[in-house]
């Protein structure tokens, strides 16, 4: 799967992080997992990532703050949020800022797959030429 799009999973909960990564790999994606937003932002995978799947509640930088940071630094990769604490206000804010999906834990694999496909489609349409910098 050399051409498989790279998906980055950011979640401070190791069980969820590993399980989500495993599920995405079983779907045929290339996956990198990160325990925090900072770890992801300072990784070499940042520029190769086609889609981010991030938890909302995380110590340090939250998922929503990560989204703000990516927008501010012109990394226009699509984001899918997963949370065990679905809050209407947070969902609204994330969606308004351009999130593709906002999923509640536990989530269904087909729903996740739909979201990822939708994200990759969006990425293809919007991808700027310098996206691989």
């Amino acid at each position: 799967m050399a051409e498989a799009p790279i998906i980055s999973v950011v979640d401070d909960d190791p069980s969820v992080r590993t399980a989500t990564a495993r599920l995405l790999r079983s779907m045929g994606f290339s996956v990198h997992a990160f325990a925090s937003a900072q770890e992801f932002l300072s990784s070499p995978q940042l520029s190769e990532t086609s889609c981010v799947i991030a938890d909302v509640q995380m110590p340090g930088m939250t998922g929503v703050e990560l989204q703000d940071h990516l927008i501010a630094h012109d990394h226009s990769m699509p984001i899918i949020f997963i949370t065990a604490f679905p809050h209407d206000r947070v969902r609204e804010r994330a969606m308004n800022a351009g999130a593709v999906c906002f999923l509640s834990k536990p989530f269904d694999e087909t729903r996740l797959l739909e979201c990822v496909e939708q994200a990759l489609m969006k990425r293809q349409n919007e991808a700027p030429p310098h996206g691989s910098d």
Binding site: S15, V16, T18, T20, S26, I82, A84, K105, F107, D108
Partner: protein, 535 residues
């Protein structure tokens, strides 16, 4: 109330019968001692002079009540001096007058005055023959005149006192601080002040026309009471003040306080005072409403606090439980996908299953960890009086208990040692136990609903708080499992209350347990160690 307002002048003062009898004796004695046919007391009633009292002696032409038409007394009244006529027939001035015509040819008279100098009349002697009226006779007459003036003095003082008293009453009536009226047993209102008319909404014309009757003012439910009151005033002369209502002229009702007393010697009439209670009733109703709202708000706050605590706990429990569940679902779905590969990726499947086992255990630990969380929360190091804390909660729950028809009793032991702990947490425990008990009893259809909250010391010297109810009680199975998290006997209950209560009490170094009552109900009680600073 015109009769109460009249100012009394001397000529309107009535001389009472007992004084008149005494005066009669005086004139009879005078006539007897002086051997004359006529001794009289005259009263000036301008423009006339009237025979007031006259001796019963033989040949006396002066009849009490008749007008004295002769010039003798008139002269005394005008001159305010003694007049002595020894023989009118021998005296040019007095020869022809009406007294001479009636045979009275000699006269001795002196004026009688009120203490203020106003003339009352005269005391005089007449004879049908020449009479020189010696100095001794004059002294006797003056002596009796002094007796009469002494009587007038006491009479005037009596009337003066009455007048002063009546002026005070007048002040009271006219000040219109309260409604005052005079009524009779026939239902009439004879007199009333403006304040009373204002209370019942009638005007003075209505009163004058006899349109205001207290029997009509009184609503029917007060009729029996009123009959008793009339009997009371007849028997004792007074009516104790009590609250009732009157109909106003417009048909509305006005709450009043009414008391009264019989008037003078007239048992059929009484004077009543009336206070308008409308304002006070309104204020009382407002105070009650404010009190009720205050209690409601407190209850709502307590309830909201409970709900918020529950909400927070359930949210954090949900979060904690959802993480391993979410991981399990993802792992299982991944495993299925690896199995469907041709050939199946069994190593991936094995890893996924291993994680599922791990996450399953983790989910099982979550509730325990939450309990640990509560246990680890360090209680605040307050020294506190458990009775005070319990009393506050009882006050807080009183209206909720009343709503559920539950009577709340408390037996708080005096002189308990202080304990160490977090007041709010402990109050939440007591609140929880009381509300649980009240809710348990509200479901019971029969039997008394009694809640007893008591404090005391345990055998081990700890402070003990017990909440005893008369509800349906608990089955042995329920008694055993009651404190387990998520165990509930209530529809819609979360089953966290008692497990949290136990956690709080244990965090304070105490114990919380439940026992069944005979014949029914349950008693929840907890102990708390005494503050280490106390013996």
């Amino acid at each position: 109330m015109s009769s109460l307002a009249t100012s009394l002048t001397p000529d309107l003062i009535q001389v009472p019968p007992d004084i008149i009898r005494k005066w009669q004796e005086i004139v009879d004695l005078l006539a007897d001692l002086m051997h004359v046919p006529s001794a009289s007391i005259m009263r000036a009633e301008p423009p006339q002079i009237k025979v007031f009292v006259s001796s019963a002696s033989k040949g006396n032409p002066c009849v009490p009540g008749s007008v004295d038409t002769g010039p003798y007394c008139e002269t005394v009244l005008k001159s305010r001096q003694l007049l002595r006529v020894t023989d009118a027939l021998a005296d040019e001035t007095w020869r022809s007058n009406l007294h001479v015509k009636s045979g009275m040819i000699s006269y001795l008279g002196v004026p009688i005055s009120w203490p203020d100098g106003e003339i009352f009349g005269t005391i005089c002697i007449r004879d049908n023959k020449r009479n020189a009226y010696s100095e001794a006779y004059l002294k006797l007459l003056l002596h009796f005149r002094d007796l009469l003036q002494a009587d007038l003095k006491s009479l005037a003082r009596l009337y003066g006192e009455i007048e002063t008293r009546e002026a005070k009453i007048r002040r009271l009536v006219d000040a219109n601080i309260m409604g005052i009226f005079v009524w009779d047993v026939e239902g009439r209102i004879l007199e009333a002040n403006d304040a009373f008319l204002h209370i019942i909404g009638y005007d003075r014309e209505d009163l004058a026309a006899g349109r205001v009757r207290w029997t009509d003012l009184t609503p029917s439910e007060w009729r029996d009471d009123t009959a008793r009151r009339v009997a009371e005033v007849t028997a004792t002369g007074t009516v104790q003040p009590r609250e009732k209502e009157y109909f106003r002229k417009d048909g509305s009702r006005v709450p009043v306080l009414v008391g009264g007393a019989a008037v003078g010697e007239e048992p059929q009439q009484a004077i009543a005072f009336v206070l308008d209670l409308s304002e006070r009733k309104r204020a009382e109703a407002q105070a009650r409403e404010a009190e009720r709202r205050y209690r409601d708000i407190l209850m709502e706050l307590a309830h909201a606090n409970r709900v918020a605590t529950m909400g927070q706990l359930t949210a954090s429990i949900a979060h904690e439980v959802k993480q391993p569940i979410a991981a399990t679902v993802s792992n299982a779905q991944a495993a299925l996908r690896w199995l469907e590969r041709q050939p199946p990726e069994l190593e991936e499947v094995r890893q996924a299953l291993a994680h599922i086992v791990q996450d399953g255990k983790r989910a099982g630990d979550v509730v325990g960890r939450i309990r640990d969380l509560i246990k680890k929360a360090p209680p605040r190091e307050d020294r506190l009086d458990i009775n005070e804390a319990v009393r506050e909660v009882i006050e807080l729950t009183r209206s909720e208990a009343a709503t559920n028809g539950v009577s709340v009793q408390s037996e708080l032991a005096g002189g308990l040692p202080l304990i160490q702990g977090d007041r709010v947490q402990l109050q939440q425990v007591v609140l929880n136990l009381i509300i649980n008990a009240a809710e348990a009893m509200s479901g019971a259809s029969d039997g008394p609903r009694e809640l007893l909250i008591s404090t005391g010391t345990s055998d081990t010297g700890d402070v003990r708080v017990a909440v005893r109810d008369s509800g349906p009680g608990l089955t042995p199975a329920a008694l055993e499992r009651l404190f387990e998290p998520f165990y509930t006997t209530k529809p819609g209950g979360l089953g966290l209350g008692l497990s949290i209560c136990r956690s709080i009490i244990e965090a304070h170094g105490g114990r919380l347990w439940v026992s069944a009552n005979v014949p029914r109900g349950a008693t929840f009680q907890f102990t708390l160690p005494v503050h280490p600073g106390q013996t």
